[in-house]
């Protein structure tokens, strides 16, 4: 057993877990944060993407014990004060989902993608290439791509306004 302590969505949590507990199991079963989904548990589908110390990772391929001491953000931690994150708002506006299973991972990957490219507006080719690690079996990706493009424009505008 391992004692793990980490900050999840701004809150410090400490638990004793089995050594083999995956980060995604810890989030879902330990903390009840079921927004992070498990599709394949072999790092192919991207449904379990969360941010660890600001970087997107597949939480099915990392042990909870490895994340001890880290700062973790899940889909539940993106909105602030009842206001959706711009990427969440864009997925809603552009209907970037059907069944919604892949959506948390898509959104967490999209936030990481926009940040990694410097916060500027992203073109369609970049978004499609970057989405290689997130599988959606409903939408054909088209509205997901539109939502991420729109969110990246909104966020580029916010960044410019802030400077």
């Amino acid at each position: 057993m391992a004692e793990v302590s980490m900050v999840v969505n701004g809150r410090t949590v400490t638990r004793t877990v089995e050594d083999r507990t995956l980060l995604v199991e810890f989030l879902r079963e330990g903390l009840g944060l079921t927004g992070t989904h498990v599709g394949c548990d072999t790092s192919q589908c991207g449904a379990c993407v969360v941010h660890v110390d600001g970087k997107a990772v597949k939480s099915c391929t990392m042990l909870a014990a490895q994340a001890s001491g880290s700062d973790v953000t899940t889909i539940e931690g993106l909105a602030s004060g009842g206001e959706l994150h711009p990427v969440q708002a864009a997925f809603k506006e552009h209907h970037g989902l059907q069944c919604g299973f892949c959506t948390p991972g898509m959104i967490m990957a999209a936030v990481d993608m926009i940040a990694r490219h410097g916060g500027g507006a992203l073109d369609e080719a970049t978004i499609r290439a970057e989405l290689e690690g997130n599988i959606c079996r409903c939408t054909g990706y088209h509205n997901i791509v539109k939502a991420i493009a729109a969110a990246s424009e909104t966020m580029a505008g916010m960044k410019t306004a802030a400077e």
Binding site: R20, E25, V57, C60, T61, M62, L63, D112, M113
Partner: protein, 275 residues
Amino acid sequence: MKAAAAGYIRANDLPHAISLLEQSRGEARILAGGQSLIASLNLRLAGETALIDINGVAELSGIELVGEQLRIGALTRHRELASSDLVARHVPAIAQAAPLIAHAAIRNRGTIGGSLAYADPAAELPACMLALDAQIVVRGPAGERRVRAGDFFVDLFTTDLAEDEMIVAVEVPVAVAGERQATMELARRSGDYALAGIVLVDRPSGVRAAFFGVGPTPILATGAMAAIDRGASPDEAAALLEGDLQPLDDVHAPAAVRLHLARVLLRRALAATRS
């Protein structure tokens, strides 16, 4: 499925990691990025094993120029390889290979040491090491030794590492004036393991072409290389690959398809380095 890990311990520093490895007598495995290891524990492809987490071992990180070599720490993430100016300038084959590895979220975790120790025959970085004639720096209880990439990859998922040794770094010769490098692959889907891939290092003194996905280890195409150095055309060199490579039939592609793709890649890579 629940992962089959039987124990987890964080190494504080390199001597601690080596000592844990030695004490485990082959029962423990080094956990770096975990992007293949944890997935295989989830799939129960890897048996019950204790894990020695080296992610906190600071001396395993970092990229630095040491004389005519670029020394890359074993814990260097694929994302860092893709964005490093030193890598782009001195070993462009690695800079080109890094974005081809899996997906962004995996590149954020996966490490060069992990990729080399795992030795997947379709992986990009082992072929980079072979084409670049890099040395793998490994350490065990008896100390440190250097293994040339050509001697390191022994067979399918099998390396020259002893059970009490771990990779600490790689040392890669930097590109000389006039040298061109190209890494290319063909996969069914973006982010998949390649059906075939090439790392071409085109030095004024001679060419080295390492292929991946076409045999049990990365393979140096010595016949084609010698022909290119003698002035053979890309088509003539590509025709010799049948004698150089050992593609296997598998569920993803028949051997003949992989050989064909290797020929296509050799022509494309030569076009890129000699354009």
